[in-house]
């Protein structure tokens, strides 16, 4: 944890309220996000119990699996989910704008610009917590290899038509969520924790109720009290007042309420199957419907508080203005979305279970690049984030006290002005360290020349101030670029005396990495080419899978 984050947490403890650690919003929030609050069945990995899903905060769709161990009911749930999620995705897939992309011409091998479509906006999925994001990945994996009856008439348990497609999309969202700075799939706890520091541990911050309690405690209560209540308080029946954000449910709920309801449902179903005539069946169908309605009410009672909390979280984060470079990162999300849309349209097979060596290496490299980009962009967008970097010696801000013109040696001398900056920061500058500042959105680089010793040259600003305060260090930089082609630097390209400047020790833009070999040219050190991609079967059935 950085020093400034520690300070913010201490301040949160002492004031009883979460402290802002950002002045702007560093993630894109769609105007019409799809909020998804799933619940899962205890002890049954990947068996959904129900969900609230939708784009309208006042009218969520309630989906329930009254008996999660019944494969058909599970498929019905996934089918309903597909009917909500896929049309939402489709609305974004259709609205496109023209864009250019660099591609390698297969005939000449040269890089050429190709006119392609780019979706004008992208869908956004909001989950309450990180565990929810993992659940999205699990759902994606469990669905994308399924076969529909249309794809394979022989398949023993055909999936409903659009379920495999939903699996591919959820997989794509889950995979994209691993890219730092992406906003296609967000966990509300992560978004809130990015913008506020609470007085509890980062582990506790993953409890959406407790996190919100710190950020916006009820009148007359401190964050700590409200958070404790959110975590522990139970009603007379022993149920949590603030149910966990899921997908896991509280054991007390499972044991006391859910299990008996399942039992009543199972009994009603068995009784219905055993009905001997129509009249009896009608009667018992009524019992079954009542039992199902009871489970629906239970699921709604545990998801609705989380649903409302997610929207409250969205309200809080939306109050912050969007940071300047969020749009650029969102454009990458749009490319990612468009790319997957095109792969689906082209009839490509679902994402493989495991990445091959080249794909894995490419993903890791891309994510490392995005992480570095995100850290740089957040600092450049937000003075509070930059303050943290300054405090840790990775940046410095100060006033220009002197500019001396100088030139490079060589046949055509170029401007290399020496700029003296007075700063109270303590950057970790090594010999000839490169530093960067943002000039019109582009990075201008300079080289650290040295510290100026003469702090006592009689300048009224220099040396130790009258109050005995340390007046900071004077450091000399040599500006290296972005000054135009002429002998004299272009207007405004060199800082002037009295300017306030902020330089970073980290680079602002990331270089692209080296191109890796194609998967079919995987070298012997990495097992050689992976071979033809075979279409993968869904997970095999086990006895436990069938009731």
């Amino acid at each position: 944890m950085s020093l400034i984050a520690t300070l913010a947490r201490l301040e949160a403890v002492s004031t009883g309220r979460a402290q802002p650690i950002a002045t702007v919003r560093h993630r894109r929030l769609s105007e019409r996000p799809l909020v998804f609050v799933p619940l899962t069945t205890a002890g049954e990995a990947g068996a959904p119990l129900g969900a609230l899903v939708g784009t309208d905060r006042d009218a969520p769709h309630l989906l329930v699996v009254p008996q999660p161990r019944d494969r058909d009911l599970r498929f019905a749930f996934l089918s309903e989910l597909a009917d909500i999620v896929l049309p939402y995705i489709d609305t974004y897939a259709e609205d496109v704008e023209a864009a250019e992309r660099n591609e390698t011409d297969p005939e000449t091998g040269k890089r050429v610009k190709v006119e392609v479509e780019l979706c004008a906006d992208a869908p956004q999925l909001i989950l309450p917590s990180r565990a929810g994001v993992d659940f999205v990945r699990l759902l994606g994996r469990s669905m994308r290899f399924r076969r529909t009856a249309e794809q394979d008439p022989e398949t023993p348990y055909p999936a409903p038509p659009r379920v495999p497609l939903l699996g591919r999309w959820l997989t794509h969202f889950g995979e994209r969520a691993r890219v730092p700075g992406s906003s296609l799939l967000l966990a509300m706890t992560d978004v809130l924790a990015r913008h506020w520091a609470t007085g509890q541990s980062t582990l506790e911050d993953q409890h959406l109720g407790a996190l919100l309690a710190w950020i916006a405690p009820p009148q007359g209560e401190t964050g700590a009290e409200a958070a404790l209540r959110a975590e522990l308080a139970r009603d007379a029946q022993g149920q949590l007042l603030c149910p966990p954000a899921g997908p896991a449910t509280d054991p007390a709920f499972d044991n006391k309420l859910l299990a008996p309801a399942f039992e009543r449902y199972d009994r009603a179903r068995t009784a219905l199957a055993a009905a001997e005539d129509g009249l009896e069946a009608d009667d018992r169908l009524g019992d079954l419907t009542a039992a199902e309605r009871e489970i629906r009410a239970l699921v709604e009672s545990r998801t609705r508080p989380t649903w409302d909390a997610v929207w409250r979280g969205l309200d809080l984060v939306r109050e912050l203005p969007e940071a300047g470079r969020v749009e650029e990162r969102w454009t990458r999300d749009r490319w990612s979305f468009t790319g997957h849309r095109d792969r689906v349209a082209a009839g490509e097979p679902p994402q493989p279970r495991r990445d091959d060596a080249v794909t894995a290496a490419n993903k890791l490299a891309a994510r490392e690049r995005e992480q570095a980009r995100l850290e740089a962009q957040e600092a450049l967008d937000d003075p509070l984030v930059m303050a943290g970097r300054r405090l840790s010696g990775e940046a410095f801000a100060g006033e220009v006290t002197e500019v001396v013109m100088a030139y490079s040696e060589g046949k055509r001398p170029s401007p290399r002005p020496l700029v003296t900056v007075r700063t109270d920061d303590r950057p970790h500058l090594g010999e000839r360290a490169k530093v960067f500042r943002s000039l019109g959105g582009k990075p201008q680089s300079a080289e650290f020349v040295g510290y100026e010793e003469a702090l006592d040259k009689g300048d009224e600003d220099g040396g130790v101030g009258e109050d005995g305060r340390d007046a900071g260090a004077l450091l000399v930089l040599r500006v290296l670029d972005k000054m135009g082609r002429g002998k004299e630097p272009e207007e405004g390209s060199v800082p002037e005396k009295g300017d306030l400047v902020c330089f970073t020790l980290f680079e602002h833009e990331q270089r692209g990495g080296a191109k890796l070999p194609d998967p079919e040219e995987t070298p012997w050190t990495h097992g050689g080419p992976p071979g033809e991609q075979v279409s993968e079967a869904a997970d095999p059935l086990t006895e436990e899978d069938v009731l």
């Binding site: 730092p180 060596a357 290496a361 890791l364 490299a365 995005e370 070298p523």
Partner: protein, 444 residues
């Protein structure tokens, strides 16, 4: 007849076997594990010269520019006639200026300019951008345990066969983003290059250099037991071969007493009272700086097998090692206040591969309330405690043993991954137990 261990003969035997496999073997790869200071660079230079002599075009992959420049200088020193290519980046000051004085070293940012040279050397990052029609017949990959699997993937197409050399006990490569998704895959891109190589080619010949020429007889057993329990090594010198003495007698202070203890036994632990502190613990930083100041003031002299006459212990023969960069910066500032400027102060990552007479180490767990995976990493402690030829002084707050017991390793177990042993918890305990025998309490 009793068998007397002859370190020189053992090392020669190992080197001969490695060169035999490299020059005349049939396997596509040869892996060499080298403990700290076991003559890895010497081996790389010798293998390069022999491959060049045999007329096989050779590419050498190192991990940092400093390592590349160092190898070029060593090659030129051994054989000034050998045509060597230094492939470098197109940044400003891409290589050591000392290379400009070597007539047979050609430098270029383009691999095409270096065609036909016996040996071409560059970093893995630069090699990754090179495209060739015909691969090199041979490659040497240096520091292969610090190279990530994905960077080997980027360069492995450039050569037919390779010699992989490295120290398995040093810091593992790391990535700045999570990579659990690929844990357990044989080609996990965040694993080390050797891990991936051996997972796919388990039959490759593997060798081990058995003798550390750097570590003194006092240090080799500790480092070997704590960090290489299944592949032990010996020191090349014996007790009494090296000697550290001081002209100015001790003034009885903690720093002076720990210096004397370290001069006598090779190890010293300067223990500060237990306390939870920020990373840049001002007291510990001051203690480190004071020890360095006293080392210089007391007129140290080092006698070793290299020369019969005592060599003065100067600032360039001393290094300070820390876990974090801000700690290094704090120590540098404290040293500057005491008027010391030429002593190397760096993090474990940057001290890898370097050698000094005396090192002063700020213990990674000193003053911490928790023991994270970063601070427990075996390689970090191994690097910090294996840079010295004479003595190592560790500065630490009391209570680290208790801290270790309070925080046993909690890293999730991933299926399919090789469990590294010893783990950081065990290694830290082993080192602390030995250091405790050389404890001196802080008394300024």
């Amino acid at each position: 007849m009793t068998a007397v261990f002859d370190p020189g003969a053992a090392a020669t035997e190992a080197t001969d076997a490695i060169l035999r496999d490299t020059l005349h073997g049939t396997a596509r790869g040869v892996v060499v594990d080298s403990p700290p200071g076991a003559g890895k660079s010497t081996l790389v230079v010798r293998a390069a010269l022999e491959l060049a002599d045999a007329g096989r075009p050779l590419m050498v992959v190192a991990q940092t520019n400093a390592q590349v420049d160092d190898l070029v200088l060593r090659l030129a020193e051994k054989n000034p006639e050998l045509p060597v290519g230094r492939l470098h980046s197109s940044d400003a000051d891409p290589y050591d200026k000392a290379l400009d004085d070597l007539p047979n070293v050609r430098k270029s940012a383009k691999a095409g300019d270096l065609g036909g040279l016996s040996v071409v050397i560059s970093t893995a990052a630069k090699w990754a951008h090179v495209k060739v029609d015909e691969p090199w017949r041979h490659a040497i990959v240096d520091e292969a345990y610090q190279m990530r699997s994905d960077s080997l993937l980027a360069v492995a197409g450039l050569f037919e066969r390779a010699l992989f050399v490295g120290d398995p006990g040093q810091l593992d490569p790391f990535s700045i983003v999570g990579s659990e998704q690929w844990a357990g895959l044989s080609y996990d891109p965040s694993a080390s290059a050797v891990t991936t190589l051996l997972a796919h080619n388990p039959a490759l010949p593997q060798h081990r250099l058995p003798v550390s020429w750097r570590l003194p007889a006092s240090a080799a057993p500790l480092v070997s037991d704590a960090f290489y329990p299944y592949t032990p090594f010996r020191s090349g010198t014996d007790h009494g071969d090296r000697h550290l003495s001081f002209g100015v007698p001790s003034d009885g202070s903690g720093p002076d007493r720990v210096i004397d203890e370290a001069a006598e036994s090779g190890w010293g632990l300067l223990e500060l009272p237990a306390r939870h502190t920020p990373r840049t613990d001002p007291e510990a930083v001051r203690a480190v700086a004071t020890v360095v100041r006293r080392l210089l003031d007391r007129g140290g002299a080092a006698t070793s097998e290299r020369s019969p006459d005592p060599a003065p212990l100067t600032a360039d023969r001393i290094a300070v090692g820390t876990a974090h960069r801000d700690q290094a910066a704090a120590v540098r500032a404290a040293l500057a206040e005491l008027g010391v400027t030429d002593v190397t102060v760096d993090t474990a990552n940057r001290l890898q591969g370097r050698e000094y007479d005396v090192t002063v180490v700020l213990h990674p767990l000193s003053g911490r309330p928790d023991a994270t995976a970063f601070h427990l990493e075996t390689g970090r402690l191994c690097v910090l405690t294996s840079r010295h030829r004479h003595a190592c002084i560790v500065v630490c707050r009391a209570g680290v043993s208790e801290l270790l017991d309070d925080y046993p390793s909690t890293e999730p177990v991933q299926l399919g991954t090789l469990v590294k042993f010893p783990d950081g918890w065990e290694a830290n305990h082993a080192v602390l137990a030995r250091l405790a025998e050389h404890r001196v309490a802080w008394r300024p």
